[in-house]
């Protein structure tokens, strides 16, 4: 039985201008959902749940939750938190795409804000890096008063909107994130993963727990969008005449193939991958992320 969450309509949420308020709403909503869950009465020490991953220590398995929900959850205690977390957010041009009323960038920004807020509530320390062709802005993880506000301010800063170079970004993150911690990559990952596989592996090899949150517009998944017209690539500017109706099937196949490639790269590098579409409720996305948090690194093949 899944945890109940009161989903918040992303469109309504993103209509709120204040980023901090959005974050609060999502996180508070998440907490209220958690408190309404059947899992009352957790220990004070108990900090959070994490979904079981093969290889985790079975001593922390919550057998009761398993019995109730038929799903494996590990109890994580306070002493296991206080993560150093760096959120690397894609602010390239492609993140400006939307098939609805708000672009991916706005969704990603809210997600990053929400994550920051949540993590800081957990007394984790959070840093923020924005990237397009490289890391363009970096706020080191700190635990000091007003840091959250600085994170929000950086998130609000307009981006230059350049093209994406994940390889370079990851290389920069290797240099920037010297201490081991959690690195959350928030991007659409619309590029050939083979190009940055090695850089990603380098990052994970440093001991970082890397999570990839892939932000996609539903139209990018299924091409249920547009009409026969000249389609312009937002980053390269290339234009070609596309009839989506005739292209859709092939696009899906290619998309799935790329996604498979992407997943393979993540898997082989030990990166947790989560796909979040912009029509998905943010609180649900956060909940899923939280559940996946603290999982052991995926076993290398």
């Amino acid at each position: 039985m899944p945890l109940e969450s009161k989903t918040i309509d992303p469109e309504a949420l993103l209509a709120i201008r204040d980023l901090e308020l959005r974050a609060r709403i999502v996180v508070d909503g998440l907490w209220s959902g958690l408190h309404r869950s059947p899992y009352h009465g957790f220990s004070v020490e108990f900090s959070e749940y994490r979904q079981y991953s093969p290889g985790d220590d079975l001593r922390y398995l919550d057998w009761k939750a398993l019995a109730r929900t038929d799903r494996e959850y590990l109890k994580i205690y306070e002493d296991e938190t206080n993560l150093r977390c760096t959120i690397a957010m894609d602010s390239s041009k492609s993140m400006g795409f939307t098939s609805g009323s708000y672009p991916k960038s706005e969704y990603a920004k809210t997600l990053a804000a929400t994550l920051s807020y949540f993590l800081l509530q957990q007394r984790d320390i959070v840093g923020l890096a924005r990237f397009d062709e490289d890391v363009s802005d970096y706020l080191a993880a700190r635990w000091r008063p007003g840091h959250l506000k600085r994170v929000f301010a950086l998130l609000e800063r307009p981006s230059q909107g350049l093209s994406t170079n994940i390889e370079k970004t990851l290389s920069s993150l290797v240099r920037i994130c010297r201490k081991r911690g959690l690195v959350i990559l928030v991007s659409d990952f619309l590029s050939d993963a083979q190009n940055w596989r090695q850089a990603l592996a380098h990052l994970t090899a440093m001991g970082h727990d890397v999570r990839a949150l892939q932000i996609l517009d539903p139209a990018e998944q299924n091409l249920a969008f547009g009409k026969a017209a000249y389609w312009e690539d937002m980053e390269s500017g290339d234009t070609l005449y596309v009839d989506p109706d005739s292209m859709r099937q092939r696009y899906r196949e290619r998309f799935l193939a790329r996604q498979a490639q992407l997943e393979d790269v993540f898997r082989t590098t030990g990166v947790r991958h989560q796909i979040i579409t912009t029509d998905q409720a943010l609180d649900q996305a956060l909940l899923d992320f939280v559940r996946n948090l603290r999982g052991q690194r995926a076993a290398r093949p």
Binding site: D233, M234, D238, T239
Partner: protein
């Protein structure tokens, strides 16, 4: 439909603009941005078989806007079906001036006139405006433009010819400059009658004899688009014209009493023989047998014809023969009329008293040529006098008698040389405001102020004669006159010298002072006799009209009132009614006898505008074009089609905005 400014229709070409714009514009670009086209393939573009016009309704509206604007600027109008002004024939304003002076009485001229007039009338078109008049020294309308227009077109020529036939030549002189000036004015009047310009033509039908007055032609202001046509009329027979002009009576040692006559020949430079006889104007009896006289061509000769002295006092007719033109071959002559008047002189002094006013008065009137004046001091109150000179105070009965005479139209002058004249003056004037009183000083008075506009002093108006200041007067009472009296002269102390008061039909003059030399230098001055003569003339009705006059319109106007039972229209002798032995002789103006046509040199000197036919045609074409334009403009201004088109443009603009907005909204609402 026609257009006032068809050039603006070129603007219709601008309709191509919106058409091209709608064709080549690629509507809303059909461009979609996508995050990454890496996974996309180019699709073959959809077949566009032909360029399609986007938004055809919007295009139509825009084309209509441009089209309507072009039409509006071109000022369209719908010509009237019955638009007579639009017909291509140019209207002409025609004035035909016919010479009706005495020289036009020569044989054959009237026939020639009718022939030429017919030719002119037959060339007229129904749309022409025509005015026809005859001229001598005045203008006589024959057919007015209104009469011409009212007449049916096919009857106009005969109507005009009938009028011309009934309008014959006169014995009056001709003033060609007046006739041309009148014709020009008539043309301008004709043009003002219509709003469409016409071409003006003046036809002058005349013999253009050199005796006609032409010197005023130079100052005529010629309007544009006006042609002057001179139609020279000639008698059936060319030859010299002989005429007579009276000069004077004279005495010749050899011939005795002689009539001096000027014999003139004009025309051909040939010597002519004239036969002149003298007849009685009363019974046409031959008084002097015909005598022959020679005269060279184009010259004037004074001839002497013996005439018995006793014949001078009767009206005569000098008859001439020897030329082909008898219109001026008779010269009537009336003896000069000298009126005789008497002045009643009422005085205590006799005419023989050389130091009295009566003496000087009687001597002065003896020199009057006319009227012949007699002074009656014996029966001054007889009532047969034209004027009275009162040199002593009058008794009441005398004053009443004189007063009645004055009121019946007589004139009286009172020489008030004492205060005793006050009563007389009051009685004659009927006003008690008069007063004659003694002066406080014996200082001689000079004449200070004179009204030279009054008939008594008019002869002295010239600066040569206007000095009265050397005439001294003594012993003169000081007059006080009522306000109704008019002071004609004053002494240098501003007291009245001569006062006039109108009484009934006559006049009363009061002279302050005596005319006797001991009291005044007046009768001894050079002013006295002319003054007295003016007084007598004024009292007798002015100088008599001459007994001989040329037949002109102004003379007819002067003399006709004296002849209520006769019309003075032709040369001859007219007896004055109510006056015995007084005649009036009317003769043709001698200038009319100069029948040579005006020379080309003289015409050229007048500066008349000359028209080449090509110039006239060009003007006609211009007027035709102007006429069409004006006609079109009038119709267009009446129809105002351009205003409706502009309203339509405004409505279309509003519609275009609405349609464009709707189209834009529809595009934005299309699913992306």
């Amino acid at each position: 439909m026609s257009f006032l400014a068809p050039l603006f229709l070129v603007g219709l070409a601008l309709v191509a603009g919106p058409i091209l714009f709608h064709l080549i514009r690629q509507s809303p670009k059909n461009r979609i941005v996508f995050s990454s086209t890496e996974l996309l393939d180019a699709s073959p573009p959809k077949q566009q078989t032909s360029r399609r016009i986007q938004n055809p309704w919007l295009l139509l509206i825009r084309c209509l806007i441009i089209g309507f604007l072009a039409f509006a600027f071109a000022r369209p109008f719908i010509p009237d079906a019955a638009d007579t002004l639009g017909n291509k024939e140019v209207r002409r304003d025609i004035v035909i001036a016919i010479d009706r002076s005495a020289s036009m009485n020569r044989p054959g001229i009237s026939e020639h006139l009718m022939e030429e007039a017919r030719k002119i009338l037959e060339k007229l078109s129904p749309s022409d405006q025509v005015s026809l008049f005859g001229f001598t020294d005045t203008i006589s309308p024959i057919i007015s433009p209104e009469q011409w227009t009212a007449m049916e077109a096919d009857r106009r020529i005969n109507f005009a010819l009938e009028r011309l036939e009934s309008s014959t030549a006169t014995a009056l002189p001709g003033l060609l400059d007046e006739a041309i000036s009148e014709a020009v004015s008539e043309i301008e009047a004709l043009r003002e009658r219509t709003s469409v310009s016409g071409f003006g033509e003046i036809y002058l039908l005349s013999d253009f004899a050199e005796g006609t007055r032409i010197n005023g032609i130079e100052s005529i202001d010629w309007p544009s688009s006006l042609r002057l046509n001179r139609v020279q009329l000639s008698p059936e027979q060319e030859g010299p014209n002989l005429s007579l002009r009276w000069v004077q009576w004279s005495e010749s040692e050899s011939l005795g009493s002689v009539a001096n006559i000027a014999l003139t020949s004009s025309g051909e430079p040939l010597r002519s023989v004239a036969e002149i006889s003298i007849r009685s104007a009363l019974d046409d009896s031959l008084l002097v047998s015909p005598s022959e006289h020679f005269v060279d061509g184009n010259t004037e000769t004074i001839i002497n014809i013996p005439v018995a002295q006793e014949l001078r006092s009767q009206p005569l007719v000098f008859a001439l023969s020897g030329d082909s033109y008898p219109f001026d071959n008779k010269l009537a002559l009336a003896p000069d009329y000298i009126p005789q008047v008497s002045i009643g002189l009422i005085s205590q002094s006799s005419l023989a008293n050389e130091s009295s006013a009566p003496y000087f008065i009687s001597k002065a009137v003896q020199g009057f040529a006319t009227p012949r004046t007699r002074i009656d001091s014996q029966t001054p109150l007889s009532g047969s006098h034209v004027a009275y000179v009162i040199d002593r105070p009058l008794a009441t009965a005398e004053a009443d008698s004189i007063k009645a005479e004055i009121e019946s139209g007589k004139t009286a002058i009172v020489l008030a040389h004492g205060t005793g004249f006050s009563d007389t003056i009051r009685q004659l004037s009927g006003s008690d405001s008069w007063l004659a009183e003694n002066r406080s000083s014996d200082t001689p008075l000079l004449i200070g102020e004179v009204d030279f506009s009054h008939t008594l002093f008019a002869p002295f108006a010239s600066p040569r004669f206007s000095n009265f200041t050397s005439i001294n007067t003594w012993q003169t009472p000081k007059l006080s006159a009522p306000g109704s009296a008019k002071v004609l002269a004053r002494y240098d102390d501003q007291s009245p010298l001569l006062v006039e008061e109108k009484r009934g039909d006559g006049s009363l003059y009061i002279w302050s002072g005596s005319w006797a030399p001991p009291a005044s230098q007046w009768v001894l001055s050079s002013k006295f006799i002319p003054f007295l003569h003016r007084f007598v003339l004024s009292a007798s009705g002015g100088p008599p009209l001459p007994s001989n006059a040329a037949l002109t319109s102004s003379e007819i106007e002067r003399y006709q009132p004296m002849f209520p039972d006769q019309l003075i229209q032709t040369p001859g002798i007219y007896r004055f009614p109510r006056t015995e032995n007084r005649w009036l002789a009317i003769h043709i103006d001698p200038l009319e006898s100069k029948t040579n046509p005006i020379s080309l040199d003289q015409w050229e000197q007048l500066g008349l505008p000359e028209f080449e036919e090509s110039v006239a045609q060009a003007q006609l074409a211009r007027i035709r074009s102007q006429s069409e334009q004006e006609s079109a403009r009038t119709i267009e201004e009446r129809q105002h089609i351009w205003q409706w088109l502009l309203w339509a443009v405004l409505a279309l603009l509003a519609l275009e905005s609405a349609v464009a907005m709707r189209s834009h909204q529809r595009k934005e609402a299309m699913p992306s």
